[in-house]
């Protein structure tokens, strides 16, 4: 049953630009093929490089002879780990020194920790020559023991993925180091019954009275659930081009963030960031995997230096699988108590995350925090272990950890609703956060709280729009087909604070808005700056957004990831706009007399209230240059970041320079929320199922750009659905080799896997803790996309079919026949 076509939603009733659609400034270049991504650039004398990848999951190079390769005509240089700068300490924005992690990931290594890890790189006149040279390299590996499955290495005599151990150990005032964590044999007893063993955790926290919560529960469920490892699979592989000029390195690469990528490049190259120019105007997808660039971009940079020529490193799809990051799969278990009305009384959660061999992904920790917020248990214990394995490195993927936590929790909520004969929307609604909802463990006796939450309103709106009650009342079975409907809660962190806004009102009357946000396709790079035009009352057509090149004087900007940007940078844009407005008023008062408050800004003018003399923006910009000082950027605001100050100094004298740091008050942590509704149809004879309908209702605060928002709400929902509907990693356990290495091995949903008329809605209720009221949206829908599909499947098939994701047709057929879940319940990568 299709849901009624949602009437055109209207947003931004009190605004001219905010809440309205507009063609973004990057769109024309994209649609005509003029937009240049990293691989589209050409430089005279450009060499090409190829990588030699490890054939073993864990080993050591015991013999290496490059002579035959180096003797080949056309081979210009070979880069190995000996050419890499030593890991450098880094200094944060706040001046805190972070000691270098000597056991962290390097761009090249002689001790590979996963199959496909880059060992060395050859630069040659073309790729053919580089590939031939790699064939001529004489290399031998010593094989070392390897571990793929976290449970395998946690066993008392299990293999360690690294010589030093299988987990990161945190110690105060020193970088993390690799150590050993083994559980006792008796800890593994529950595994015999398909339940997750829960040995000594690395971390744990709790609040409330857990025992009382379970004792007073009408129903207690204890469920083990396994979530898949899924590659980010950005359509643009992490290709990069580098060359050197006058001691500076110029890097063309795809990255989510512009300004924030410099710090990583500086650390990896051990160079001052003022000597690095990053060009990244267009990026072919990130989803967290290119949040602040990637370490492999230094390979062409260092090769270019060594060969004294530009080097293009093109990454193939298979190479991308190995180095392109993935979401950590979880082996998890939750015990949850429910009152008769469905209200959760207690949650006891255990999460094991598969990390790959290198730097720790934060997923395991985030999973507990998100569950504590989204389901509001009055008592909760969370325990977690992040385990190292010889599988490709993990990194944050849209809603890192939060998604896995939601996917562990949602099937339990659906099962509880069935056992307590409750409506599924009702059980989600009664447990939803509202207002300044608390989350996470207590610190100094007090738990943290959210800025706001309107998830209950989202469920109300969604239930009506999806015609939930009608759908539930309809017959499920029709011939061999059975229909199911499911609903899911979802949320994630959605905003940071404290960054800078910067723009110049030029003497020609146009506004040059400096944007340090990356262009990964979310359109936040221009969307947030609509606030500048809105506040100043300037037509958008008079604004030019400058982005994607760190030599273009950009302001200090948040990482374009983790759903921060819309929140953080609308605040910064608002602060800069208020600074610009104040300066315009002051300039008018200096020019015509009176006080600044007697002047108003609007219609591309600053004018005396109630009529009288006025300056056009062009005239005001010329006056600003005459006045100098703070007006044209010669005196930057004292509190902006030093990175912004450098940019202001370069822009000084070009017009009225408006710049400010976001210092707006902010009580609580910002989150965004989504209520997701799904309908599936399963063919019981074939096990094949289709998603027939989907609706996501988003609570993201004020809507800035509806069409871009719809793309995020539905696009990130589908990314989540991929985890329910088929994506996973598979390894050969004997040799530790990766089997799922291309799109067709672990295929993201295609246009035929989703309904042709998906629905979305946004509440458009402003968040009270931010001036424009907008929060981020990239991550929050992901868990709901997966959770709603899983719950629709269990509605159709019952509780005895699956206890891990994805749910494939063989899972359905074999389990229905046996009357119980037939998939191996705990093993990773099946």
């Amino acid at each position: 049953m299709p849901s009624p076509k949602s009437e055109m939603q209207k947003f931004g009733a009190k605004y001219k630009l905010i809440g309205k659609d507009y063609p973004t400034p990057d769109l024309y270049a994209k649609v005509t093929g003029k937009s240049k991504y990293a691989e589209d650039f050409r430089v005279d004398g450009m060499l090409f490089c190829k990588l030699l990848l490890s054939p073993v999951p864990h080993g050591r190079v015991k013999h290496l002879d490059l002579s035959k390769a180096l003797a080949m005509p056309g081979v210009k240089a070979i880069l190995t780990q000996d050419d890499l700068p030593a890991p450098a300490d880094s200094v944060t924005d706040l001046g805190v020194t972070i000691k270098a992690n000597t056991q962290g990931e390097k761009a090249l290594t002689m001790e590979p920790l996963y199959q496909g890890e880059p060992i060395l790189a050859v630069a040659a006149v073309d790729e053919w020559t580089a590939a031939e040279a790699i064939e001529k390299i004489d290399i031998e590996f010593e094989h070392l023991p390897f571990a793929l499955d976290p449970l395998e290495t946690l066993r008392p005599r299990g293999p360690n993925p690294r010589v030093e151990g299988n987990v990161w150990v945190e110690e105060e005032n020193s970088p993390p180091r690799v150590g050993v964590l083994k559980w006792k044999e008796e800890d593994f007893a529950p595994a015999k019954y398909g339940q997750l063993p829960m040995g000594k955790p690395q971390e744990e926290w709790s609040y409330g009275d857990l025992d009382a919560g379970f004792k007073n529960a009408a129903l207690v469920l204890d469920e083990t659930f396994v979530t898949p490892d899924t590659s980010h699979q950005t359509l643009e592989p992490r290709t990069a081009l580098a060359y050197w000029q006058n001691g500076k390195v110029f890097l063309h690469m795809g990255t989510q963030s512009t300004v924030q990528t410099l710090a990583g490049l500086g650390r990896w190259l051990n160079m001052d960031r003022s000597q690095i120019v990053l060009i990244s105007e267009y990026t072919g997808g990130g989803f967290g995997s290119k949040a602040t660039g990637y370490i492999f971009a230094i390979i062409p940079a260092l090769l270019a230096k060594k060969a004294n020529a530009p080097v293009m490193m093109r990454i193939s799809r298979e190479e991308e699988h190995f180095i392109g990051r993935a979401r950590p799969g979880f082996q998890g278990r939750i015990k949850a108590g429910f009152a008769k009305d469905g209200r959760i009384t207690a949650v006891d959660m255990y999460a094991i995350g598969n990390n790959g061999p290198y730097d720790e992904a934060g997923d395991v920790g985030a999973s507990g925090e998100i569950v504590s917020l989204l389901y509001q248990p009055p008592a909760m214990r969370w325990r977690g272990v992040t385990v190292l394995t010889n599988t490709p490195p993990r990194g944050p993927q849209s809603a890192p950890g939060g998604m896995q936590g939601i996917v562990m929790m949602e099937p339990i909520l659906a099962k509880a609703a069935r056992q307590l004969s409750l409506d599924h929307v009702a059980i989600h609604r009664i447990n939803s956060p509202e207002g300044k909802a608390e989350w996470g463990p207590a610190s100094n006796g007090k738990r943290a709280h959210a800025t706001s939450a309107f998830l209950k309103e989202a469920f109300d709106r969604g239930a009506e729009q999806f015609r939930w009650k009608e759908r539930v009342a309809q017959p499920k079975r029709s011939g061999s087909k059975v229909r199911g409907v499911g609903v899911s809660s979802s949320c994630f962190f959605a905003g940071s604070v404290g960054y800078d806004g910067l723009f110049v009102i030029r003497p020609d009357g146009r506004i040059a808005i400096q944007s340090g946000i990356g262009n990964l396709g979310t359109e936040s790079l221009s969307d947030v700056h609509r606030v500048v035009a809105e506040v100043l009352g300037v037509p958008w057509e008079k604004c030019d957004v400058i982005w994607g090149n760190t030599s273009k004087n950009l302001p200090w900007t948040c990482v374009s990831g983790g759903s921060q940007t819309t929140h953080a940078m609308t605040r910064a844009a608002h602060a800069a706009a208020m600074d610009g407005k104040q300066k315009l008023q002051e300039i008018a008062a200096k020019t015509f007399g009176g006080t600044p408050e007697q002047y108003e800004v609007g219609n591309e003018k600053v004018f005396r209230k109630g009529g009288g003399r006025s300056l056009t923006l062009a005239q005001a910009a010329q006056r600003a240059i005459q006045l100098g000082g703070k007006y044209d950027g010669h005196e930057p605001p004292p509190d902006v970041n030093k990175y912004t100050k450098t940019s202001i100094a370069a822009l000084a004298g070009q017009g009225l320079v408006a710049a400010a740091k976001d210092k707006y008050p902010h009580d609580g942590q910002s989150f965004s929320y989504v209520a997701s509704f799904a309908e599936v149809e399963v063919d019981l004879e074939t096990g094949k199922y289709f998603l027939t309908d989907y609706l996501a209702v988003a609570d993201v605060g004020t809507v800035i750009h509806p069409k871009a928002l719809s793309g995020q709400v539905l696009g990130r929902s589908i990314l989540g659905m991929g985890h329910a509907m088929g994506q996973k990693w598979v390894f050969d356990p004997q040799y530790g080799h990766t089997i799922s290495r291309r799109f067709y091995h672990t295929k993201p949903p295609t246009i035929l896997d989703v309904p042709t008329g998906m629905q979305w809605a946004a509440l458009d209720i402003p968040d009270p803790e931010t001036p424009v009221g907008a929060r981020g949206i990239g991550e929050p829908p992901v868990g709901g996309g997966c959770g709603a599909v899983l719950n629709a499947l269990s509605d159709a098939l019952g509780d005895e079919v699956f206890r891990r994701a994805p749910v494939n047709l063989d899972t359905i057929l074999t389990s229905l026949e046996a009357g119980r879940p037939m998939q191996e319940p705990l093993t990773a990568f099946i």
Binding site: D126, I134, L235, G285, I751
Partner: protein
């Protein structure tokens, strides 16, 4: 000789050649030390004389006759991107999985990563750069993207647009479900399918208006 081959057989020949080329690539690639796919001679790019085995071909691309030194194993995607400077055609997988490299060959969408360049002699190739009018007026399908803010990162965009343009030539008035089938050879990892489909439907509508006018 090639001119006498009927179109259906030309297609068959090109398929056979492609497959052989890719089997070769698969053998060379794989697990171990290197991956022998993703190769090409950059000779003409580097301004050197053509490498042995190269052959000077004349190709009809975007209505222009273009000459390029082409290796016999060279794919159309390489020639377009590295010999003719048409970088709007993207490589997402180089193995006929994602559709980012889709171009029109005699009005039919093809994965240019899986077509050998020498098989398109005497055919008309259209890439994203050739869709708009020389006066800058966008193709109605391109305009549909602007109207609906279609796509996110847009790395898949040129492939989707050319698939849509090809499909609409034979199915000018599709339903959403029909057009989805027409576009199902293209992957969007931003998973922006709903908005893409809306933009392509708008493109179809724009196209019908232009055709009627």
């Amino acid at each position: 000789m090639k001119e006498e081959i009927p179109p259906s057989e030309r297609e068959a020949t090109s398929l056979r050649l492609s497959r052989r080329n890719f089997i070769k690539g698969v053998i060379g690639g794989g697990v171990a030390a290197s991956s022998a796919h993703y190769l090409f001679r950059a000779s003409s790019l580097l301004g050197e004389s053509s490498a042995p085995g190269d052959r000077l071909l004349t190709l009809n691309v975007n209505g222009q006759l273009r000459r390029a030194d082409v290796m016999k194993q060279e794919t159309l995607a390489w020639t377009l991107r590295y010999k003719l400077g048409l970088t709007g055609t993207k490589l997402g997988c180089d193995r006929a999985e994602c559709g980012a490299c889709t171009v029109l060959i005699d009005d039919v969408p093809h994965y240019s990563c899986s077509v050998l360049t020498h098989t398109v002699r005497n055919k008309k190739v259209v890439t994203i750069e050739g869709l708009a009018n020389p006066d800058g007026t966008l193709h109605p399908v391109q305009q549909g993207v602007i109207d609906e803010q279609g796509f996110q990162c847009a790395f898949c965009m040129s492939g989707f647009i050319l698939s849509a343009v090809g499909y609409l030539k034979t199915h000018p008035n599709p339903t959403r479900a029909e057009l989805a089938h027409g576009l199902s050879g293209n992957l969007c990892r931003c998973q922006d399918y709903d908005k893409i489909l809306t933009a392509m439907m708008r493109g179809a509508e724009n196209l019908r208006k232009v055709s009627r006018a």
